[in-house]
Amino acid sequence: MSTVSLSPSQRAWLRFKRNRLGYWSLLLFCTLFVLSLGAELISNDKPLVARHHGQWYVPILHNVPETVFGGDFQTPTDYLDPFIQQQFAKEGNFALYPPNPYHHSTINYFAKEPNPSGPSADNWLGTDDRGRDVAARLLYGFRISVLFALALTFIGVLLGVLTGALQGYFGGKTDLWFQRFIEIWGSMPELYLLIIFSAMFDPSIALLLILLSLFGWMGLSDYVRAEFLRNRQLDYVRAARAMGLSNGQIIWRHILPNSLTPVVTFLPFRMSAAILALTSLDFLGLGVPPGTPSLGELLAQGKNNIDAWWISLSTFGVLVVTLLLLTFMGDALRDALDPRKAEK
């Protein structure tokens, strides 16, 4: 017998790691996510650092007027302007541009073809119909999608676990009324409400988050409720009650940790559902405010400019890879938490 004792969650993690596909999907997804968090360093129209006439500048942090670099106006510098680039090319001057020198909102006025222009050395994945770099928009769009999905999943899990725990632990009347409430709430036409609300309020990410959260907790709540119903009549809970623990202590110490399996298993699937929901709403034009980089908005552009294959194809690719990685992670997680395998 080994002297190191592993908790059930540690053993589940080991089983998860043994699934190569799921484990590598997790690593890859996390890498992509971390990279996208630093999107400003990777894809930006401002140099990371610049040196001009012996002075150091950090343009991505501070706005520098064009006059500093020999321009005519007090406006913020357009670093993609050939004149400014000539200034930096001079002896003693220097500018370190990010690998992809476009922000998601940068319009490439210097493209050689009309918008949308195809992939080139300047714009790796071409530009959209307003001359913005598709690669940059994908990177920022991915970040927004994942952040939105994380937030939505977090809120949904919180609400779902809370309501499920209350129903399952107290049972009886509490359970009965809550279930009826969920039935009514769940039969509301979610999409129509979204359309109505997006007409009533200014579209924003926060509004979307609130609206989708209102309807997103019910599925999970049912699972948590079932787990609580099962666990609360097991002997270890009875023993805890006989010991004199309060309801709160029993829920927190005993039942909750043993009821989280469905919650954890569904995390990646909830993430991918959230990404898809945001994408679909954006595609329909009900989602994020105009100008926000979003995968759904890119897909809509791809539909409107069917000849500009680089827009739809690249967006489609990013979506597929993201959802696939999440699905692989979900599968591995489900296997790792499978009670039949955990017994062994």
Binding site: M1, T3, V4, S5, L6, S7, P8, S9, L234, D235, Y236, R238, A239, A240, R241, A242, M243, G244, L245, S246, N247, R253, H254, P257, N258
Partner: protein, 534 residues
């Protein structure tokens, strides 16, 4: 033995490289009754299933020559198609749990008829007549009606009879019976055993009975095979093996009958009773059928009119079959179920307010039956055992708590020497008996005066059961603990209890001092219980 019905040589079964049956050799003669005994995990069920190759993931090797109706054949090398001819017709099997072994969507008649049509080639009408005949052979009343019943409409005993009727449908030469009575109530076990015995004699078939119950072996079998860890350690005629066991393991099995080792009569001295019940009654709300159920709920009375008292240092045994209300009685005594009537614990009463119950909770603790569900899988040993201290002695420092936890574990025979890193271990690293010790330590740590033991040993192997009972007896002597012992096992009652209550259908049908009650039972129900256990 060339005239053997079944001749097994060098049988090995492995699951994923782990060998669970190692080199088994045994024979069964036609019409012989053989018992395969061993504790859980010794490989007895796997042996039986592997003979019919019913374990798809297992790697089976060796030979098993069987004299079937189509002549000699090696069961382990037959093709799947040929083997199907043997299964059910020459070799039949009955399982432990009749509820899960019967298909809930078909009537038992349909299920027996299916076997007869497939294996014997009877037409439906003939098969149905035969099925009714078979059911009546197994002693099911009104077999003409019962063939139309679904499994859930039968009682546990009737279900097992139906299973037996199905197994015997084709008059097999060998019947594999895997713990056929374990899931049944004590009173029913004897009946099923007698039934098997009679049918065996009538049809002249051989029976391989898999069991862990030595009483059953003694009553039923002619020859016994003892297995330990996938090996046969001893085999021979039952009388010989029981009279002169050769192997130490066989000896420990035979000696595993619980021994009475309690102080009696304990000091009474007019001490006030620790637990006193008068007219205790517990009912559950149940839905009523039909329209009435919309407005009112019925009540199922689980316990009524229970009067008893437990003085300090005494054990009150409660015995009865499943559904007799004995576990409900235990939960009521713990204050975990609402009840009516009078119940005094150490002079106090359970209240609805959990905070006011705190003092009483320290007096009464509990040990449950199932050692697997009674410990939270996600807490360490230290957290599980120390939990009572955080409630009842919150002023103790971390070090004092830890010392107390270690002392409680030592009391139940779990030490750091045996299990390095004991306190940080999780329940899944312990066996059933060790988990039960953990559960006892969890109860002991708050220094209770009464422990409710709800079937504390019925999920354990016999040798482990004896150890746990000895532990409970020692703790009682040292701390003059009182026990409320719930069990269905007369042997356990005989070894542990001072007074006994016999429960049936929620009523206490008989009570009194253990020796008097068990030696001269007045109520017919008590008599069947005592007889079944003899």
């Amino acid at each position: 033995m060339s005239d053997a019905l079944l001749d097994v040589r060098n049988l090995r079964v492995a699951f994923g490289g782990k060998e669970v049956v190692r080199s088994l050799d045994f024979q069964i003669a036609p019409g012989e009754k053989v018992a395969l005994v061993g504790e859980s995990g010794s490989g007895k069920t796997v042996t039986a299933l592997s003979l019919l190759r019913l374990l798809p993931e297992a790697a089976v090797s060796g030979t098993a020559r069987f004299a079937g109706s189509d002549g000699q054949a090696d069961l382990l090398s037959l093709s799947e198609r040929e083997l199907r001819g043997v299964r059910g017709r020459d070799i039949a099997m009955i399982f432990q749990e009749p509820m899960t072994a019967l298909n809930p969507l078909f009537t038992i008649g349909d299920q027996i008829v299916e076997v007869l049509q497939l294996k014997m080639g009877l037409d439906r009408a003939a098969a149905l007549a035969r099925a009714i005949q078979l059911l009546s052979d197994t002693g099911i009343p009104q077999p003409e009606e019962r063939v139309k019943s679904f499994p859930h409409q039968l009682s546990g005993g009737q279900r097992q009879r139906a299973m037996i009727a199905m197994a015997l449908a084709c008059q097999p030469r060998l019947l594999l019976a895997d713990e056929p009575t374990t899931a049944l109530d004590v009173a029913l076990r004897g009946q099923i055993l007698d039934l098997l015995d009679g049918l065996q004699r009538k049809h002249g078939m051989a029976v391989l009975m898999i069991t862990h119950d030595l009483n059953l072996v003694r009553r039923f079998a002619g020859r016994v095979i003892v297995m330990e860890n996938g090996r046969i350690v001893e085999q021979g005629p039952v009388a010989d093996v029981f009279a002169r066991p050769q192997h130490p393991y066989t000896r420990s099995l035979i000696d595993s009958r619980p021994v009475r080792d309690v102080q009696e009569p304990p000091r009474h001295g007019g001490a006030p009773a620790l637990l006193q019940a008068r007219g205790l009654r517990v009912g559950y709300p149940v839905p009523l059928p039909g329209l009435r159920g919309w407005f009112r709920r019925g009540e199922f009375v689980a316990v009524q009119g229970a009067d008893f008292s437990i003085p300090p240092g005494h054990t009150l045994g409660v015995i009865g079959e499943s559904g007799s209300g004995k576990s409900t009685l235990a939960l009521a005594a713990l204050g975990l179920l609402p009840f009516t009537g009078e119940l005094q614990v150490d002079g106090g009463n359970w209240s609805r307010d959990q905070v006011r119950n705190k003092a009483l909770r320290q007096v009464v603790q509990v040990v449950f039956q199932d050692p697997f569900s009674s410990l939270s899988p996600r807490l360490t040993v230290e957290e599980i055992v120390g939990e009572g201290l955080t409630i009842h002695a919150p002023t103790l420092s971390k070090e004092e708590q830890k010392a107390k936890v270690e002392r409680a574990l030592e009391e139940v025979g779990l030490t750091e020497v045996q299990f390095p890193g004991l306190l940080q271990r999780y329940p899944h690293e312990f066996s059933g008996g060790q988990r039960q010790r953990l559960a006892i330590a969890r109860a002991l740590i708050v220094e209770p005066r009464l422990i409710v033991l709800d079937e504390p040993t019925s999920a354990l192997d016999v040798t482990i059961q004896k150890q746990v009972l000895q532990l409970l007896q020692r703790l009682q002597r040292e701390r003059s603990l009182s026990y409320l012992l719930i069990t269905h096992d007369v042997d356990v009652i005989r070894a542990m209890a001072h007074e006994v209550l016999v429960m049936k259908g929620g009523d206490i049908v008989e009570s009194g001092p253990v020796a008097a009650l068990l030696d001269a039972p007045a109520h017919p129900y008590t008599r069947t219980l005592v007889q079944a256990a003899a």
